[in-house]
C-alpha cells in the first residue's frame, strides 16, 4: 500500500467536513449569501466525500494499524503532543459509522429542515460535529482525542439549543454541556495523572508502558485502588458523562429539544457512544485493573436497567428513544466491563443503524403530525403512514433484538460473553433489560400505529427523507455482521467462544418474543395510557417518568445550594474589608474636620488644652 496516499486519504476524512463547516460559518459573517441548494451541496458533498474516503480506507488498509503524524501541536520539555491519527480496525469501524450514518442523516436533514430559516447554520454545526467526531475517533493521543471530545460536546450544545428563541431549549443545552463537562474534567485529571505517571499522552504508548509499569499480578485483586485503577476511573468519568451513563445520564432525555436528525446523529448513533469508544480504545489500560472493569460493568448494568424502566412510562416518542439509547449504551458498557470489547463495538454499530433509523422515522412521524410528540395523541397510523410504519417496525424489532435482526446478533453476543465470564448476576439484569426493552419498543409501536386514529397526518415524508430511511432500514435488518477486524483486534488467546446449552440460547431468544406478545395483550386490554387510579402506582409512575428523580435530587443537592451560595456572596464579601477602610477614614475625616470650624473660641480652647496637657506630660517625666 502507498503510505503517502493513505495518509492523505486519512487526513481528508476529518478535514472535508471541517472545510464544509468553515465555509458555512464564515460566509454569513462576511455577508455572503449562499443559496439553499449550494448549502446542501457543500454540507452533504463534503460528508459524502469523507464517506468515500473511509470506504477507500476500508479497502486499502491491510495492516493492523497505521499511524501517520502530520505535525507537532505542543512541545514543551518532555511533553510532546503531535497531530497524529491512528487507524486500526476500531477506528475504521468508527469512521465508517460516522461518515456513513452521518451522510444519510445529512441527506435526510435536507428534507427535514427544508422550511427552517436557519438552514445554513444547521448544516454548519452538523458538519462541524462530524469533523470533531472524526478527530475524536482518529486521534492517536489523548489530547487530540480531547479536542474532538470537547468539539462534539460544543456542537451538541449548539444543536440542542438550535431553536434558541425558546429558553427551555437553551437550558437543556446548558445542562448537557455542563453535565458532560463534569465528566470531562475528571477525564482531564486522568490525562494529567497518566502523563505524570507515564510521561506520555500517546494512547498506544500509554498502554504499553502501563502494562510494564503496573503488571497485572492477581486477577482477583478486586478492590485495590491502585494507580492504574484511579487512571481508569478518571477516564471512565469522562466516558460516563459523554455516554449518558449513571450518574451523569440525566442530560440526555432533555437533549431531545434539538432537531430530530440531530438526536439521531449525535444523541443516538455517534457522540453518545464516544465513551464506549474511549474505553475500547484504552482497553489495554482497563484490562490492567479488574476493579475498574467491574465498575464499568456495574455502571452499565445499573444504567441499562434504570433507563429501560424509565422508558416504559414515557409518553414523548423522543424521550422513549432517548431512554432506550441510554439503556442500550448501558449494554455496551456492560460488555466492555466483561472484557467483550469487540461485542461492545459491534453493538455500538448495530445500535447506530437501528437507533438512527428509529429517530429518523420518529422525525418523519413528527414532521407529518404537526410537531406532535405525545404518542397517546397518535394512533392508527399504520395505513396512513406506511413508510414510517415499516421503518418503525424494523427499528423496534431490531431494538427488541427479535431473531435475525441486526440488534439480535450483537445483543446475543453480549449475553453469551457475560455467561463466558461467569457474570451471572449481570446476565440476569441484562435479560431483564432485554425483556423491558422489547416490551417498551412494542408499546411504542402499537400505540402509535394501531388503535383508533386521533389525529390525521398532513403530509407524507418527502423522497429525500425516504431514501436514507430505506438504506438504514436495510442496515438495521442485515447489518448484524461483526466486522472481522474487530474480532482479530480484540481476541486474546484464551477467549474461545464457549458453547452454551441449547436451553439458555433458546431462553435468551424467547425472552424478547414473549415481551412483544405480552406487550400486545396489554395494548389490547388498553393498559397503555390509561389514567392510573391507585396512588401507589401513581407515585411509581411519576418516579419512573422523571427517570428515577435524578433531576430533583441534583437540584436539591447541587444546584440550589450553589445558587444560594453565590447569591449570598453576590456583592463580594472581601470588598467589605476595603469598604470598612473607606468608612473608617471617612469617619476619621468627619471627626477631625469638626475641629476646623472657624470659631476662635474653639481654637483658643484647644490651644490652651493642648499646652496644658503637653506641659503636664513633659513636667511629670
Amino acid at each position: 500500500m502507498d503510505i503517502q496516499y493513505i495518509s492523505n486519504l486519512l487526513l481528508a476524512v476529518p478535514l472535508l467536513p471541517l472545510f464544509g463547516a468553515t465555509v458555512l460559518i464564515l460566509a454569513p459573517l462576511f455577508s455572503i449569501q449562499i443559496p439553499k441548494l449550494i448549502v446542501s451541496v457543500i454540507a452533504v458533498g463534503s460528508i459524502s466525500l469523507a464517506a468515500i474516503c473511509s470506504i477507500l480506507l476500508n479497502i486499502e488498509l491491510n495492516e493492523p494499524s497505521f499511524n501517520p503524524v502530520y505535525g507537532n501541536w505542543i512541545q514543551v520539555d518532555e511533553l510532546t503532543i503531535s497531530f497524529g491519527l491512528y487507524l486500526d480496525a476500531l477506528s475504521l469501524v468508527m469512521i465508517s459509522i460516522i461518515t456513513g450514518v452521518g451522510f444519510l442523516i445529512h441527506l435526510y436533514s435536507i428534507g427535514f429542515m427544508d422550511k427552517d430559516k436557519d438552514f445554513q447554520r444547521y448544516f454548519a454545526y452538523l458538519n462541524l460535529f462530524v469533523a470533531a467526531m472524526l478527530i475524536l475517533v482518529l486521534a492517536d493521543n489523548l489530547l487530540l482525542l480531547f479536542l474532538g471530545w470537547e468539539g462534539v460536546g460544543l456542537c451538541s450544545y449548539l444543536l440542542i439549543g438550535f431553536w434558541h428563541e425558546e429558553t427551555k431549549n437553551n437550558l437543556a443545552a446548558n445542562k448537557a454541556f455542563i453535565m458532560t463537562r463534569i465528566g470531562d474534567t475528571g477525564m482531564a485529571i486522568g490525562m494529567f495523572l497518566l502523563f505524570f505517571q507515564l510521561g506520555t499522552l500517546n494512547i498506544q504508548q500509554i498502554q504499553t508502558s502501563a502494562a510494564e509499569l503496573w503488571p497485572l499480578v492477581d486477577v482477583n485483586q478486586k478492590y485495590n485502588l491502585d494507580m492504574v485503577t484511579i487512571c481508569c476511573l478518571l477516564l471512565l468519568a469522562g466516558a460516563v458523562g459523554k455516554s449518558g451513563q449513571l450518574p451523569l445520564q440525566s442530560w440526555l432525555p432533555d437533549a431531545m429539544a434539538g432537531p430530530t436528525p440531530v438526536s439521531a446523529l449525535i444523541h443516538a448513533a455517534t457522540m453518545v457512544t464516544a465513551g464506549v469508544y474511549l474505553i475500547a480504545r484504552c482497553h489495554g489500560l482497563f484490562e490492567l485493573s479488574p476493579f475498574a472493569m467491574q465498575c464499568v460493568a456495574a455502571v452499565g448494568a445499573i444504567t441499562l436497567f434504570i433507563a429501560a424502566s424509565a422508558a416504559l412510562v414515557q409518553n414523548d416518542v423522543k424521550r422513549i428513544l432517548a431512554y432506550s439509547t441510554i439503556s442500550q449504551i448501558g449494554y455496551m458498557f456492560l460488555a466492555l466491563g466483561a472484557g467483550a470489547f469487540s461485542a461492545a463495538v459491534f453493538h455500538l454499530m448495530t445500535h447506530a443503524f437501528f437507533k438512527a433509523l428509529l429517530f429518523l422515522s420518529a422525525g418523519a412521524l413528527i414532521y407529518s403530525m404537526h410537531h406532535e410528540h405525545n404518542i397517546f395523541r397518535m394512533g392508527g397510523l399504520a395505513k396512513k403512514l406506511p413508510v414510517v410504519w415499516l421503518c418503525f417496525f424494523i427499528g423496534c424489532a431490531a431494538l427488541a433484538s427479535l431473531p435475525l435482526m441486526s440488534g439480535f446478533w450483537s445483543k446475543e453476543l453480549i449475553l453469551g460473553k457475560l455467561l463466558d465470564q461467569h457474570m451471572y448476576g449481570y446476565w440476569l439484569i441484562a435479560i431483564a433489560g432485554a425483556f423491558i426493552t422489547a416490551f417498551y419498543s412494542f408499546r411504542l409501536f402499537f400505540v402509535i400505529f394501531y388503535g383508533e386514529t386521533k389525529k390525521e397526518p398532513d403530509s407524507q415524508p418527502s423522497r429525500i427523507m425516504v431514501i436514507p430511511l430505506s438504506i438504514l432500514g436495510f442496515l438495521a435488518i442485515f447489518g448484524g455482521i461483526q466486522p472481522q477486524g474487530l474480532i482479530d483486534m480484540f481476541s486474546s488467546p484464551d477467549s474461545g467462544q464457549a458453547s452454551h446449552s441449547i436451553a439458555i440460547v433458546a431462553f435468551t431468544i424467547l425472552v424478547p418474543i414473549c415481551a412483544v406478545v405480552f406487550s400486545f395483550f396489554q395494548f389490547k386490554k388498553g393498559v397503555f395510557g390509561r389514567i392510573i387510579q391507585s396512588s401507589v402506582l401513581n407515585q411509581i409512575h411519576r418516579f419512573l417518568l422523571s427517570g428515577w428523580a435524578f433531576d430533583w435530587f441534583y437540584q436539591k443537592i447541587f444546584i440550589d445550594p450553589f445558587i444560594e451560595l453565590t447569591r449570598m456572596n453576590k456583592s463580594d464579601v472581601i470588598d467589605l474589608f476595603y469598604k470598612t477602610i473607606i468608612g473608617a477614614s471617612r469617619m476619621l475625616h468627619n471627626f477631625l474636620s469638626q475641629f476646623q470650624n472657624g470659631q476662635l473660641r474653639w481654637y483658643s480652647t484647644s490651644l490652651v488644652l493642648f499646652s496644658v496637657i503637653s506641659l503636664t506630660f513633659l513636667l511629670s517625666r
Binding site: 460559518i25 454569513p28 459573517l29 462576511f30 507537532n72 501541536w73 505542543i74 512541545q75 514543551v76 520539555d77 511533553l79 489530547l143 480531547f146 479536542l147 471530545w149 470537547e150 468539539g151 460544543l154 450544545y157 449548539l158 439549543g161 434558541h164 428563541e165 425558546e166 429558553t167 437553551n170 437550558l171 443545552a173 446548558n174 454541556f177 455542563i178 463537562r181 463534569i182 470531562d184 474534567t185 482531564a188 485529571i189 490525562m191 494529567f192 495523572l193 502523563f195 505524570f196 451560595l565 453565590t566 447569591r567 456572596n569 453576590k570 463580594d572 472581601i574 470588598d575 474589608f577 476595603y578
Partner: protein
C-alpha cells in the same frame, strides 16, 4: 535604539493626537492608529529574524546613562517573553483604538493621548531592565488609565478610578520600598550602587531579607494580576471604564503583574519564591474558584467578565509557582490567550452597550434574533473563555494544569474544577445575552470595522490553539536563559 524609538513613537504619537484635536475630532484616532502601526517598524529586525533566535539572552539590549549620580540608566532590553508581551500590547492597543472608534466623542485628543501614553508605559514596563526605570514606567502606565476611567467612564467612574488608583499605588509603594531595600542591601555588601537588573540578579540576599524584599514585589504584582483578596479594584474599574480601557486593562495591564512575577520575583528570588510556593498555589487555586463563583452571580455583564478575569489570572499564578517547565509555559500562554479572549469579550460588551445602553443580563436576551453576527462572534469568545480545545485558552490552561499536577496534584485537582465553573458562567453569558426571547428592540449588526477587529482576534486565538509552538519557543528562550529556580 530600537526600544527607545518604539516608546518614543508612542509618546510622540500621544502628543500629536492631542494636538490634532483642533484640526478635527476624528483626527486623533487616525493618529493613534498610525502611531501604533509605525511603532512596529523599529521591531522589524527582530520580527524578521525570529528563526535565528537561539541562545542569546537578549534580542535587543540598549542602555544609556540617565541619572548617573545614582547609577540609574535608561536600560531597555527584550527577550522572548518581553517580545511576546510587547507585541500583545501593540496588537491589543490597536483593538482598543478600534473599540473606541465610535464610542468616544468628547475630548478625543486627550483620550488618545492618554491611551497611547499608557501603552508606552506598558511597553516600558515590559522592556525596562533598570529597577528605577521599571518603577517609573509602572507609574507612567497608571496615571493615564486613572484619567481615562475618571473622565470617560460610566456612571460611577470617580469611585472606580480612585479605587483603581489607590490599589495600584499601594502596590507600587510596596514595590518602591522593596526596590530601595534591595538596592541598599546590595550597596552595603558590595559597595556598588546600582539599579541594574542584571547586576542585582547576581546578588544573593540573606534568606531573611530576600523574603521581605520578595514579598514587597509579590504583593505589588499580585494586586495587579489580580489575585484574591486584592482583586476588588478590578470589577469596579472594568465596569466603569470605557470599552477601550477595559480592553487595555484586561489585555495588557494585568499582564504586567504576571510579567513582574516571572521577571523579578521568580528570577531574582527563586529560593524565597519556592518557600512560599505552597501558600501561593493555594491562593491561586482559591482565586480560580472564587473568581468563577463571583462571575456566576453577577448581573452586570462587564462585572461578570471582570470576575472571570480574576479566575483566569489565577491560572497564571498557579503556573508561575508550580516550578515546572510546562506550567510556566502555560502561564505565559494564559497571559497571551486571556489577553485576547477577555479583551474580545469586553469589546463585545462595549458593542452591546453602544447599541442598547445596558449591560444588565436581566434586560438583555435574544440578541441572536436581531444581531446574529455580533452574537455568533460572542458565542465564539464565550466558548474560548471556557477553555475549548483548539483555541489558545485551552492550550494555556492545559499546560498550567498538567505542569502543576506533577508538583501539587491536590491543588491542581481543585483548580481543574474551575473548568466546570468556567463552563457554567460562560454559558450563562451566552444564554442570557444571545439566546432566549428577544427583550429589547432591533439594532444594527457589526459593521466592517468591528468584524475586522473581532475576526482578527478570533484568528489569533485559533492560531494559538492549533499552532502555539512558535510562541512556546519564544518564551522558552527566556526560560533557557534564566532557569527559574527549579529545585
Amino acid at each position: 535604539m530600537i526600544l527607545m524609538n518604539l516608546i518614543l513613537i508612542l509618546l510622540v504619537g500621544g502628543i500629536a493626537a492631542w494636538l490634532c484635536e483642533s484640526i478635527s475630532t476624528n483626527a486623533p484616532k487616525w493618529v493613534a492608529v498610525f502611531s501604533l502601526i509605525v511603532a512596529l517598524y523599529p521591531l522589524r529586525t527582530v520580527l524578521f529574524n525570529l528563526d535565528a533566535i537561539t541562545s542569546d539572552a537578549w534580542l535587543i539590549n540598549e542602555s544609556i546613562p540617565w541619572i548617573s549620580r545614582f547609577n540609574i540608566s535608561f536600560h531597555l532590553a527584550i527577550d522572548g517573553l518581553s517580545l511576546l508581551l510587547v507585541l500583545l500590547t501593540l496588537t491589543m492597543g490597536m483593538v482598543a483604538v478600534l473599540a473606541a472608534w465610535k464610542e468616544i466623542k468628547q475630548r478625543t485628543g486627550f483620550f488618545y493621548f492618554n491611551l497611547l501614553w499608557s501603552l508606552a508605559g506598558v511597553v516600558g514596563v515590559f522592556c525596562a531592565l533598570d529597577l528605577f526605570l521599571f518603577f517609573v514606567f509602572w507609574e507612567v502606565m497608571l496615571v493615564p488609565i486613572y484619567l481615562l476611567i475618571a473622565i470617560w467612564g460610566y456612571e460611577n467612574r470617580r469611585y472606580a478610578a480612585m479605587k483603581f488608583f489607590l490599589f495600584t499605588q499601594a502596590g507600587g509603594l510596596l514595590m518602591l520600598l522593596s526596590i530601595c531595600a534591595f538596592v541598599l542591601l546590595h550597596y552595603q555588601q558590595s559597595g556598588e550602587l546600582t539599579f541594574n537588573y542584571l547586576d542585582l540578579l547576581q546578588h544573593k540576599l540573606s534568606d531573611q531579607s530576600a523574603f521581605w524584599v520578595m514579598l514587597g514585589f509579590f504583593i505589588a504584582f499580585a494586586i495587579k494580576l489580580p489575585i484574591v483578596p486584592f482583586h476588588n479594584w478590578l470589577p469596579d474599574a472594568h465596569t466603569q471604564a470605557p470599552t477601550a480601557v477595559s480592553v487595555i486593562l484586561a489585555a495588557v495591564l494585568l499582564k504586567t503583574g504576571g510579567y513582574g512575577l516571572i521577571r523579578f520575583v521568580l528570577t531574582i528570588f527563586p529560593e524565597a519564591s519556592y518557600d512560599i510556593a505552597p501558600y501561593v498555589m493555594a491562593i491561586a487555586g482559591f482565586s480560580v474558584i472564587y473568581g468563577a463563583l463571583m462571575a456566576f452571580s453577577q448581573q452586570d455583564l462587564k462585572r461578570l467578565v471582570a470576575y472571570s478575569s480574576v479566575s483566569h489570572m489565577g491560572f497564571v499564578l498557579l503556573g508561575c509557582y508550580a516550578f515546572t517547565v510546562q506550567a510556566w509555559q502555560g502561564a505565559v500562554m494564559q497571559m497571551l490567550a486571556h489577553g485576547i479572549s477577555t479583551s474580545a469579550l469586553f469589546a463585545l460588551v462595549g458593542a452591546i452597550q453602544y447599541r442598547y445602553h445596558t449591560r444588565s443580563l436581566k434586560e438583555l436576551g435574544g440578541l441572536w434574533q436581531t444581531i446574529p453576527k455580533l452574537s455568533a462572534v460572542g458565542i465564539f469568545f464565550v466558548i474560548a473563555s471556557l477553555g475549548m480545545p483548539g483555541l489558545g485558552n485551552f492550550v494555556a490552561e492545559f499546560l498550567v494544569l498538567i505542569g502543576s499536577f506533577t508538583t501539587y496534584p491536590k491543588l491542581t485537582v481543585v483548580a481543574t474544577s474551575g473548568l466546570i465553573l468556567a463552563a457554567i458562567y460562560s454559558l450563562v453569558i451566552a444564554q442570557k445575552t444571545f439566546f432566549g426571547p428577544l427583550k429589547l428592540g432591533n439594532a444594527i449588526d457589526l459593521d466592517n470595522r468591528e468584524v475586522l477587529m473581532m475576526s482578527s482576534m478570533a484568528v489569533l486565538l485559533i492560531w494559538m490553539g492549533l499552532h502555539p509552538q512558535p510562541l512556546i519557543d519564544l518564551a522558552q528562550q527566556t526560560l533557557n536563559n534564566f532557569p527559574l529556580g527549579v529545585q
